[in-house]
C-alpha cells in the first residue's frame, strides 16, 4: 500500500521552484521601507507557506494519517501560545509608565 501511495508523489521540482520563489519574495520584501507590521505579516505568512510545503510534500505528511498531521501541528500552536503567554511580561514596562510610583518608605526603626 505504501508503495502505491509513493507513486502519487508530486513533482518535487515544482515544489522547489515555489520554495525558491518565496525565498526571493522574502528578500525583496525586506528591501523597501515598509511598516514593520506589514513586513511581519508578509514575512511570517511566506515562511509558514514554505514550512507547510516542506512538511506536506517533502516530509510526505499528505500521505500519512490525519491524526499524525494533527499531532505534528500541536507544537506549532503551543509555540504561538507560548509567545502570547509572555506578552504580560513584555508589556510590563509600558503599563507601569502610567502608574504613579509609591512614596519611598522611611525606615524609622533606628529611633
Amino acid at each position: 500500500m505504501a508503495q502505491d501511495e509513493h507513486k502519487d508523489h508530486p513533482k518535487y521540482m515544482t515544489i522547489f521552484w515555489w520554495l525558491l520563489g518565496l525565498t526571493v519574495a522574502e528578500v525583496l520584501v525586506v528591501i523597501p521601507d515598509l511598516p514593520i507590521a506589514i513586513k511581519a505579516i508578509l514575512l511570517i505568512g511566506m515562511a509558514c507557506s514554505k514550512a507547510a510545503l516542506v512538511a506536506i510534500y517533502f516530509m510526505h505528511l499528505k500521505f500519512e494519517r490525519k491524526t499524525l498531521t494533527i499531532i505534528v501541528l500541536t507544537p506549532f500552536i503551543i509555540c504561538v501560545f507560548l509567545v502570547v503567554m509572555l506578552m504580560p511580561d513584555l508589556t510590563l514596562d509600558a503599563r507601569l509608565d502610567g502608574i504613579e510610583k509609591p512614596a519611598e518608605v522611611v525606615d524609622t526603626s533606628a529611633h
Partner: protein, 216 residues
C-alpha cells in the same frame, strides 16, 4: 478458557500504528515534535527579549547580519532537501547507485552550509558581535546602539540549528555507507525515508530562523 477468549478479543480490536509501514518513522516524528518545542522555546525567548528591550532598543538585524549570504544558505538547504527526496525516490524504484549519488549531494549541501555558517560566525566575531557586545558600526549606519542580548540569542539559535545540521550530516553519512554496502532495496528503504524526515525538518527550521532572526 475465559481468559483465552479475552485475549482473542483484544487482538481483534488492536489499534493500528499511525505509521503502519514503519515504527521507526513514528519514532522520528515523535522526536521531531519534541525538537520543534525546543526551537519554539528559543524563538519565543528571542521574541520576548527583543520586545522587552525597552529604551535600550534592539539593533535592526540588517545592521549587523548580511542577508545575501544567508539567503544563499537558505537556497542551499532547499536544494539539499530536493536531492534528499530524489534519493528516496531513486531507492523506491530500486536504483541504488542513483540513491547514493543524491545522498552524497545532500551531504555536500550540508557540509557547505556548515562551512558558510562558520565563515559567517568568524566574520561577525571579528567585527565585534560577541556574547557581551554588539559592533560599534552597522552595515548601514555609522553608529549603532541596542541591547547586548542580540549576540547571545543569535549565537544560541543559529548554533543550535548548526548542531542539528552537523548531526544530520553524520546521520546521512551512516545511511550512505549502509547504501553503498547494499543494505537498501526497492522493498526495504524506510531508513532512507527516516533520515529524510530529519533532514527536511532541519530545512524547515532554517526557514523559520531565516525569517525571524535575519529578515524581521
Amino acid at each position: 478458557m475465559e481468559h483465552a477468549t479475552t485475549l482473542d478479543h483484544t487482538e481483534d480490536v488492536y489499534e493500528p500504528s499511525l505509521t503502519p509501514d514503519s515504527l521507526g518513522k513514528l519514532g522520528m516524528w515523535i522526536f521531531l515534535v519534541g525538537d520543534t518545542m525546543s526551537f519554539g522555546a528559543l524563538l519565543a525567548a528571542y521574541a520576548a527579549l527583543r520586545a522587552g528591550a525597552g529604551i535600550v532598543g534592539w539593533v535592526p538585524p540588517d545592521e549587523i547580519l548580511g542577508i545575501n549570504l544567508t539567503a544563499g544558505m537558505t537556497f542551499l538547504l532547499i536544494c539539499s532537501s530536493v536531492t534528499m527526496v530524489k534519493a528516496l525516490e531513486s531507492i523506491q524504484s530500486g536504483n541504488v547507485s542513483r540513491m547514493c549519488l543524491f545522498l552524497g549531494l545532500t551531504i555536500a549541501g550540508g557540509v557547505i552550509f556548515l562551512g558558510l555558517q562558520a565563515y559567517e560566525w568568524y566574520h561577525l566575531i571579528t567585527h565585534g558581535l560577541t556574547l557581551t557586545e554588539i559592533p560599534a558600526h552597522g552595515l548601514k549606519s555609522d553608529v549603532i546602539s541596542g541591547s547586548t542580548l542580540f549576540g547571545p540569542t543569535f549565537y544560541a539559535i543559529t548554533g543550535f540549528h548548526g548542531l542539528h545540521v552537523t548531526g544530520g550530516v553524520i546521520y546521512l553519512i551512516v545511511i550512505l555507507i549502509h547504501g553503498l554496502r547494499g543494505r537498501y532495496t526497492a522493498e526495504f528503504n524506510h531508513e532512507v525515508e527516516i533520515v529524510g524526515l530529519y533532514w527536511h525538518f532541519v530545512d524547515l527550521i532554517w526557514i523559520m530562523v531565516f525569517t525571524f532572526i535575519y529578515l524581521l
